[in-house]
């Protein structure tokens, strides 16, 4: 992985930074000795860029990034400030005192203002930078320690040693505050101006242009794929010459410690446990961003030539409505990809009613490349299947789409020939209001071959959706025995390996599917099927209680079940107007997800 770190445009475009710096310097209350606005007269970032060393990358996606860098700067940047200072000490002294107990001199406190010019140069910085980038929330850059090492201050009063020393001391302390508090705010505002739609202008197309320090990472995945990959994250056969970075490098950048923590997090969320592992500097996000959904549908919408609202419906319902559905996408892909003809035939009748076309339409999407599977292994999911069997009386097919790709791969072609219908309940649950939308999918899978999973989404519990999921490469590369929840079957990589040559034949198919996949009856089918599974849902929820429920949980389940039932009946009632309404809802839901910082 590499960062495209472009320093020269930063040098050219300092006007905006200067304005921002000026406003930020004048925003905070100034010491009374400064009687005028502080104006940034000159700002030159110099020709030497800061050196950045990547220490850790905690989160990496198209629309977000979090990492820790070590930065050191020994460049030739300089900054000239102009202001006016009050030379009468009595004036500054009295201006901070309450007037009631002030001696109120007649003229002894009359002011004498002196213009002052300060030049800051020879700036030496060294420190750890935490950078969090998100398309919605812009760039957050925080210095973990005080980065200012040394600085040279020269001013109008250099001939007076007392004043010079005082200025040096004061400005150093002020700059420390600036680096620790103001600069993150400036960068955040700048980035918001660049990324958020209302600020977005044509000139902002080059993203990381005007950020003062220039530590804006160019997301390696935002650009063209450095290596052509298929939907399973496998590099295409002929792609070797194009390889810029081996995908293994991407995986290597995941910290094992973080993976462990994330695994703990998903574990705690799979149950109703309220425990949340403490993760510093972490943003818990609810679901994939709206922009992400748009991107996800980009492949399908143009050729479908459908109105954008419809594609949005698609995205909210089928593709990324919840974390379990997102999981199903990833799990779908290998099966369809590896067995194109079979899959299209066998699963066509059901799949069409599913509106789960989006994953199909994304062959070669590069984000599969970097997903991490935090799901339970089939092997260690044994106990899970036991608990699932408790509830399986009314809900035998309660497995969600999150049945891992490895499972899919393991079951082999026979599973696809079996047309037993599996109901898949998934509740699209935004984190704050756990009654947003209900969508149900059916899938043709060999029921017996599937692990019965007591998926927590069935209970409608608000969860933190995960849109990034397992990658098969991970298992292949991962010799580490770090305890984590990824479920990679040992035989899977080889299986994928042997499927790879067939990939090119498969390419045109998904497009055809997506065309057929979204007729109106499909939606009707879907809602009716949801009705069917609703009872199952409730019963399964209660059945699950028997194993691990408290009274509170039970009550909550009840509430949720009735809530969902109400929702579904509502939806059924307005089936005619269902599409537009859903589209709107999807649009509303498409706003930036709330983030929780632990």
């Amino acid at each position: 992985m590499a960062f495209n770190f472009n320093w020269s445009p930063l040098i050219a475009d300092t006007d905006r930074v200067r304005d921002m710096l000026t406003s930020s310097l004048n925003k905070s209350p100034k010491p009374p000795i400064i009687v005028d606005d502080i104006i940034v007269n000159e700002l030159n970032l110099g020709s030497t860029p800061p050196e950045l060393e990547i220490l850790e990358i905690g989160d990496l996606a198209e629309d977000r990034f979090r990492g820790i860098f070590k930065m050191s700067y020994t460049g030739d940047a300089y900054l000239t400030l102009k202001t006016r200072v009050q030379a009468n000490p009595l004036n500054t002294y009295l201006s901070t005192k309450p007037s009631f107990a002030s001696p109120q001199p007649l003229a002894a406190s009359s002011g004498l203002t002196i213009p002052l010019q300060i030049t800051l140069s020879d700036i030496r910085l060294s420190g750890f930078v935490i950078l969090v980038f998100s398309k919605q929330k812009g760039i957050t850059l925080v210095f973990r320690n005080d980065p200012l090492e040394s600085l040279k201050v020269s001013s109008t009063f250099d001939s007076i040693p007392f004043v010079r020393d005082y200025l040096q001391k004061t400005i150093e302390s002020q700059l420390r505050v600036l680096f620790m508090e103001d600069l993150p705010a400036i960068i955040h505002r700048l980035s918001l101006r660049m990324f958020s739609p209302e600020y977005q202008t044509a000139e902002n197309q080059e993203r990381s242009k005007a950020v003062a320090d220039g530590e804006v990472p160019v997301d390696p995945f935002a650009g063209p794929a450095q290596q052509p990959v298929d939907s399973a994250g496998m590099p295409l056969d002929g792609s070797a010459p194009f390889t810029l970075d081996a995908p293994t490098e991407t995986y290597a950048s995941f910290s094992q410690k973080n993976l462990l923590r994330l695994a703990t997090l998903t574990e705690s969320q799979r149950t109703l446990s309220l425990f949340t592992p403490g993760m510093r500097d972490t943003v818990y996000r609810a679901w994939a961003s709206a922009a992400d959904r748009e991107v996800a549908n980009d492949a399908s919408t143009p050729m479908l030539s459908r109105p954008p609202t419809l594609s949005r419906i698609q995205s909210t319902l089928g593709s990324q409505s919840g974390w379990s559905s997102a999981a199903s996408q990833t799990s779908d892909v290998p099966s369809t990809a590896t067995r194109p003809s079979l899959a299209s035939f066998a699963s066509a009748p059901t799949v069409y009613s599913l509106s789960s076309g989006a994953p199909r339409t994304r062959p070669g999407r590069k984000r599969k490349n970097r997903v991490v599977n935090l799901r339970k292994d089939k092997g260690d999911g044994k106990d899970v299947s036991e608990t699932a069997s408790v509830s399986s009386s009314g809900y035998t097919a309660s497995a969600s789409g999150s049945a891992g790709p490895s499972v899919e791969a393991a079951t082999g072609p026979s599973s696809l020939s079996n047309t037993q219908i599996l109901r898949e309940g998934e509740i699209n649950t935004p984190p704050r209001s756990p009654k947003k939308k209900v969508g149900f999918q059916q899938q043709s899978v060999d029921d017996s071959a599937r692990p019965q999973r007591n998926d927590s989404t069935i209970r409608g519990r608000p969860v933190t959706p995960q849109t990034r999921h397992s990658s098969h490469m991970q298992a292949a590369d991962d010799n580490d025995d770090t305890p984590r929840a990824s479920m990679i079957l040992p035989e899977k990589p080889t299986e994928v390996e042997e499927k790879r040559p067939r990939r090119p034949q498969r390419q045109p198919l998904p497009r055809m599917q997506t065309l057929q996949e979204r007729p109106r009856p499909a939606q009707l089918n879907r809602s009716s099927s949801s009705e069917v599974s609703l009872q199952n849902l409730a019963t399964s929820a209660f059945a699950g209680e028997g194993s691990n429920g408290g009274i509170l949980e039970q009550a909550w389940m009840m509430k949720m079940a009735t809530e969902i039932a109400k929702r579904v009946s509502d939806e059924k009632g307005k089936q005619q107007a269902w599409r537009p309404a859903e589209g709107n809802e999807g649009f509303d839901g498409g706003e930036a997800p709330p983030a929780y910082v632990s």
């Binding site: 309450p98 107990a101 001696p103 003229a107 002011g111």
Partner: protein, 393 residues
């Protein structure tokens, strides 16, 4: 407009025969009143009462973004007999405008105030206590005034505020007024500021009894018969900060015996900072006063001009009784009828800042309505608007 508590304090000082004008600190009072008047901001309500001649309370409620307020109490050892209700209070005594200086008075003899009873002195020295609590900032202000002797006044100003270093500060001020000259010594606990002020009046010495103002020869060329020339200086020094300040000033003002229009001229100089400030105020008529001030700094060449005026609007005498009032002997209606409708004050400086203030009485309420403009800011010309309403009983 004077707040009620300031009005009561002024009455206390007048009752105890203390001349507040004979001090270097009040050298530029007239210009200060005409140019630096307080413009209200937001809405402010004052409800006050002089419940007994010795005790006054006042409550203030303001809303300037947030609601704030203050409670204040005042105790005076001397009974105050002043018009306290907002219906009867004279607007001239609460609206501070052109300041007419009176002829200097000879300080009282010490024994004049002595009261003996059964061989023991029973008289007490006049004192005033005043406290004010601001909410919600919880700032407490306290004032203690004491007439130690006929020529001496002790003033203690205390502020308690958690935001201040050391939690507050105390200012002690000892004033001596001998008529011919006055001295002040002050000490502030905040950075141990020491101060000294002095004012000397040329010409007439009130302590020499046979010198009658009208029937004497000029002692020297600047001994203006119907005016008074005063010179003063102040010096401050803080041993903690190792900083200080100095200024000196001159004032010439006409006395009531002056036959022409009254005027006041002052010149103050800050030799350390090179600041010169001159004011000229003239009472152009019964209802009009004008004032100007020029500031100049000889080091930075910064200059400043402010002009201001005040206009008194008086009630028209009703037609029915106009003929009768004309026939009345001039000295007969000595009781000053409060015939003022309202006062308009305006000031403008060379930076385009304009202040307007209208103070009047509406039924039983004293209302002051003010606005500040900045003519240089085209888009936001109106800086602030405010109304203050006072009611007292």
């Amino acid at each position: 407009m004077l707040e009620f508590m300031d009005y009561v304090q002024t009455a206390f000082l007048a009752q105890s025969r203390w001349n507040i004008d004979n001090s270097y600190a009040s050298l530029t009072t007239t210009a200060h009143h005409l140019l630096d008047f307080h413009i209200p901001q937001g809405l402010r309500l004052h409800v006050s009462s002089l419940s007994s001649p010795r005790f006054a309370t006042s409550y203030t409620l303001g809303s300037r973004g947030v609601v704030d307020g203050s409670l204040s109490f005042l105790y005076s050892s001397a009974g105050l007999s002043i018009a306290s209700t907002s219906r009867s209070v004279h607007l001239e005594s609460v609206v501070r405008g052109y300041r007419h200086l009176q002829e200097l008075q000879r300080p009282d003899e010490r024994h004049w105030n002595e009261i003996w009873h059964a061989g023991r002195r029973v008289d007490r020295k006049d004192a005033l206590l005043y406290g004010r609590l601001y909410l919600p900032t919880s700032t407490l202000e306290a004032l203690y005034l004491r007439r130690i002797s006929p020529t001496r006044l002790l003033r203690l100003n205390c502020v308690s505020d958690g935001a201040l270093p050391n939690g507050g500060s105390v200012l002690a001020l000892l004033q001596n007024d001998y008529g011919k000259y006055s001295t002040e010594y002050l000490y502030s606990t905040d950075s141990a500021l020491l101060g000294l002020r002095g004012l000397y009046n040329f010409g007439y010495d009130p302590r020499v009894p046979y010198h009658q103002p009208s029937a004497r020869l000029p002692a020297h060329p600047w001994d203006h018969q119907s005016g008074r020339l005063s010179a003063g200086a102040e010096a401050y020094f803080s041993p903690v900060n190792k900083s200080g300040g100095v200024s000196c000033g001159l004032r010439f003002t006409t006395l009531p015996t002056h036959t022409g229009f009254p005027y006041t001229m002052t010149l103050t100089v800050n030799p350390l900072m090179g600041n010169l400030s001159s004011t000229y105020a003239v009472k152009a008529g019964r209802n009009l006063a004008l004032c100007s001030r020029f500031d100049f700094n000889v080091y930075s060449y910064e200059s400043d001009v402010v002009v201001g005026m005040e206009l008194w609007q008086r009630k028209q005498a009703s037609v029915d009784v106009a003929w009768a009032s004309k026939l009345v002997r001039p000295g007969w209606s000595k009781v000053v009828e409060d015939d003022v409708n309202g006062v308009l004050k305006a000031q403008m400086d060379n930076n385009g800042k304009v202040g307007l203030l209208w103070e009047c009485r509406i039924k039983e309420l004293l209302v002051s309505l003010g606005a500040a403009f900045d003519l240089k800011k085209r888009e936001r010309m109106l800086g602030s608007v405010g109304v203050e309403v006072s009611y007292s009983s």
